[in-house]
Amino acid sequence: MTIRHTFKTALTGLTTNRSRSFLTILGIVIGITAIMLVISLGSGAQALILGEVQGLGTNTIAIIPGQVSTSPSSSAAALYSDSLKPADVTALLNKSNVPDLKSLMPVVIGADAASYGPNTYQVTVFGGTDLIADIFNLVPAEGQFFDQSDVISYSSAVVIGADVANYLFDNQDPIGQNVKIKGRNFRVAGVLPKSGGGSLFNFDSMVIMPYTTAMTYVTGQKYYNRLIIQATSDKIVPVAAADIKLTLEESHNITDPAKDDFTVETQQTLANTLGTITSALTYFLVAVASIALFVGGVGIMNIMLVAVTERTKEIGLRKALGATDRDILAQFLLEAILLTAIGGIVGILLGAGLAFGISIGLSKGLGVNWQYVFPWGGAILGLSVSALIGLVFGGYPARQASKKSPIEALRYE
């Protein structure tokens, strides 16, 4: 029998039992839909996170105290949390050490209560320089950002987030007013617009002040939580990162790079780390969704076995009329593969459609820039996996069918 006629026969077999065929492929449809959904949303989330990271500027380098743990037992991060000292800043700012450094911002972070009149609000105190405004594109809705002279003079000028302004000042204009933190007055120089919750970095509940002020009057610490450096150009970042590493190792008297008490993170390494995390999460969810596919496959096998028993007489007739074992095997195998492939295609379309809907929902609902990604890889994977399921789970019933003796089959009632 030619392939075309095997195809036609298999298709006829499926269409004569339309509702059963539909119910059979439901398992495959659900499995493939789930996989498509997970892969599509996973890629979307990855694109969103990477987009946010890239938004930080590709020439930005962050220095973090301690080591980014490479093994679960590594506690270097905790041990060296105070490893970034003012001396390091001096060393880094030395042009002969890091010639490609354009600007440097020490960062201190603390949490404290801020109050104005009777109102108190728990805020994150961010101590830095005006570079933060540059990096995150922060433009105060009212007033203005503090500048380098405020940093040098330990000025009490602060910029507050939208939530802080709302809670502390209700409907009053906060500009020029004093907020109290640790019993000390800080003059509000600027108020940031609301940034929303969708962003990777949220400034809404922050009080931003010069790091000099923050260290002296708020946190009282003698070390920095971060050092943020901008290189002179994007291309020079790897060179600058290497220079920074050498400078700090020298400054900390470290000879073995494995014992570094700091981590130099570039936008690229951060993107890689986040990419790995989201990929791992996606793969995990795909594995979970695959269970649905497996169950769908067992469903196919079940129905095909029923079909083979039910059509014993038909098999006997075909054999009596000259069908070989191979013809019967091909017919039933193709029926199973057609079932799963159709299920796969429906699942791909359904999954892609749902993912598209959810993408729109996420962009509109959360106000984030969620990009819809059509998972071509997932579609190809889904289609081949579903055909493979047809082959594997249809194989046994098809073999059973082909092995029936024509006479037993004809006698079957």
Binding site: H5, E314, A323, T324
Partner: protein, 238 residues
């Protein structure tokens, strides 16, 4: 020339106890002969037809079909032989459900090496030869019993085989339809030279044949010519 030649054909089943369905049967069938095999149920006539029709293989004995020793054939070779040289007509018609008359008749062609361009014409002329040209596109559920059996005969004819095996072809039909079917079968024998081997327990059906073999308990009891053979137009009484 003998189209069928069996010697000491024996068939036993081993399902718990040994059941002998056929004990050492020998006979020949000439090309163009019309043979009826009769016998009560359990006499082994169905087993014999299945063996002759290459649907089953004997436990021992020899079977030459068309001068070929088919006892040594593989299942694929047997399938090919069934397709090319044998047509079957069953008591229960065995038509595919929800499939048109024309498609049912075409079924053996799918498994043949007859070029596809000939299929439509062959199927149509087979349907016409049993007088169902007005039923071409009907589904089997819309047909009467007699019509169904005529479709089955058309299906048996479509590959133009030399031999037609009929297993109780009138067993599920009323006497009028039965007569009609037997008239067609007899005409195939007389006008188209087809060899017919038919099993039945109805004398009225068997009397259309030239020769009747009677089986009892797996053995040939008698093998005789029919003296007052029925003609296609004769009254068929059940």
């Amino acid at each position: 020339m003998n189209i069928i030649s069996v010697k000491n054909l024996r068939k036993s089943y081993h399902d718990g106890t040994d059941t002998i369905a056929l004990k050492s049967v020998s006979f020949d069938v000439r090309q163009g002969e019309f043979l009826a095999i009769m016998g009560p149920s359990g006499s082994g006539k169905s087993t014999l037809l299945h063996l002759l029709g290459l649907l089953d293989s004997p436990t021992s004995g020899s079977y030459r079909f068309n001068d070929k020793n088919v006892t040594s054939y593989s299942s694929d070779e047997l399938a090919l032989l069934r397709n090319r040289e044998i047509g079957f007509v069953f008591q229960m018609f065995n038509l595919l459900p929800r499939t048109s008359v024309l498609e049912n008749v075409k079924l053996p062609l799918y498994y043949s090496d007859i070029p596809e361009r000939e299929w439509e014409d062959r199927a149509r002329s087979a349907v016409e030869s049993v007088g169902l040209e007005h039923r071409m596109e009907h589904q089997q559920a819309e047909l009467s019993g007699g019509e169904k059996q005529r479709v089955a005969i058309a299906r048996a004819l479509v590959t133009d085989p030399g031999v037609i095996f009929a297993d109780e072809p009138t067993g599920n039909l009323d006497s009028k339809s039965g007569k009609n079917v037997m008239a067609i079968i007899q005409r195939l024998n007389e006008e188209h030279g087809k060899t017919i081997v038919l099993i039945t327990h109805e004398t009225a059906t068997a009397d259309h044949a030239e020769r009747i073999i009677r089986l009892i308990d797996g053995e040939i009891e008698s093998d005789a010519r029919v003296r007052n053979r029925l003609k296609p137009e004769d009254e068929f009484v059940k």
